[in-house]
Symmetry: D2
Subunit: 183 residues, 4 copies
């Protein structure tokens, strides 16, 4: 165990909403980096926590959300990063991964102090999660290659906000992220 | 729709824990009243919201929790009150139905102002949920026949605390609970 | 009473921190608009709620924070918008006006559904407060002339994020903000 | 510094409310024990945190609350335990010391893992605070001699609930509470 966890944000998606056309190419580009981070987290025995919107469906959790996303318009963007048997899973109802969810409690139980964020949307849920993590004194890293955006200018501004105002580290190629395993 | 919702607390249970022996006879006695409340809520088009512990299993939601409870020691206490297709479902990690859950948000979205509580355990989760609802200015009703306890003396004290200090109404036989349907 | 409240963010400031030099000219420019909004809120009997950082001083509330800001480097930026006898006052410890504060509860008690935001810093606390209000389904308006920034580019991006992703209304000159008084 | 903090609940009180007659004799009896705990906390360099109701007065903090309590019906119950220069101070709007307050955040910043509770009312705010602390995995101790009640039977039940269901330790005469100072 390290004290670092990977948080995979909103990668279960039917891509049937209004902004999907703007979003999909960016997701396609980020996908290999999200996969790489998941692999690195697994190798370091770091928790992988999927936090995903419930799309207003208050009975559809985990299995149903995965099935629904796989039955959507872009299963090829879902299947490679779908939660596996070892993944933890937190459902959210609103934008931030912390609002109305047990994420803060779960991280405390896991002894996590450092979050690596990836997923979508850079200038929305990723930004908001970085903020809510920073407010709670978690260390935050974001891999700019592993996040997908709708609006490229706002995404750039969001990354700069995370770095300047939320003390986030922007991960560069070759950076070691998940550190050495704890005893 | 009324502005009242029925909250069914922790009725998905494997009854394999330490306190189960003390709890099971009380659940057996409360079961018909829980069923009656569910039926009354359905007739009045009031939301039925199951809020249930995840027992530390951060991937097991809804379907898996139901299956696990039905495979436990007392399926006859689970099956009659298991969530149906119309039930809403909120997973909790700790004692209170409000802590680290989207319940407050969901109730706001539904326009609910009055909670009817039933389930288990009277002197624990039911008491804590009454408190957290009262703090947020929800009206609270509890049906003493539809809640199950481990310790009868503490359960009596809990009901008295709810009535005296949390402005809860203790439902009596014949009381109309879910009111007239809203237009 | 209207269902609109004015939220004045972090205007009690000693301006002795690192970013003050970049911030002060922008505050000076925003000051008349903040005053105008306070006047309009008063005329409409809308609540004026100051939400202010405690700067890590866990005993210094209200009077002491006002005194400390008036004794700082720029009392001329504090005195014109200091809380008066009718102002409500909420202390915060971190960036967002909602995190670890009773603001959500207070707004509920006041029957407020629409927040008008002003103060500092546009690309930080104002942005975060707009987000946390939007997540809770409050309507949000921001007056771009009544908010002060450190980084003009990030401030522009922040205003665009509020408008595009948080359904915020950017108030324009001549807009009626506080509406008609409620009965 | 130890990892233990003393939380003094609602001891700033005008005693002008309805339940005051039932409460005052119990406060009078608890007062010396509250003073003793404050002294012991000071000696061990443990933080003393007063958490107090604002009585719906959204501008009256710290100094004003102290002044108002000292001007109430029983200044002799306030003065001996009023916050001193080293005390931390958190204002609450509702029953629990955690709801809508920065207490959780403050405890995290102080590195506190163990709370010693004293003050009033045993079967209300003290009970609720024990619950909210236990839910967040703080260790909880309560000194039965240093808490004051309105209803003696419910107070007994509350202490038993804390011990049985919230893993709280009931402090006995002679127990060492604040431990050895940390390096």
């Amino acid at each position: 165990m390290t004290d670092t966890a990977l948080v995979v944000i909103d990668m279960l998606n039917t891509y049937e909403h209004e902004d999907a056309d703007a979003l999909v190419p960016s997701v396609r580009e980020a996908l290999p980096s999200v996969r790489r981070l998941i692999g690195q987290a697994r190798s370091a025995s770091a928790p992988v926590i999927h936090v995903n919107d419930n799309f207003g469906r208050w009975r559809s959790h985990h299995g149903e959300l995965v099935a629904s996303a796989l039955a959507g318009r872009h299963p090829e963007l879902v299947e490679p990063v779908a939660p596996d048997e070892d993944s933890l899973f937190v459902v959210k109802a609103r934008h931030s991964t912390f609002y109305g969810t047990p994420l803060d409690y779960l991280l405390g139980q896991l002894g996590v102090r450092h979050l690596v964020l990836c997923g979508q949307v850079t200038e929305q849920c990723v930004l908001y999660s970085a903020l809510d993590a920073h407010i709670r004194h978690f260390d935050v890293s974001v891999d700019p290659r592993a996040v997908a955006h709708i609006d490229p200018e706002l995404a750039d501004a969001a990354l700069r906000m995370m770095e300047t105002n939320m003390s986030a580290v922007l991960i560069r190629p070759g950076d070691s992220v998940f550190g050495t395993a704890r005893a």
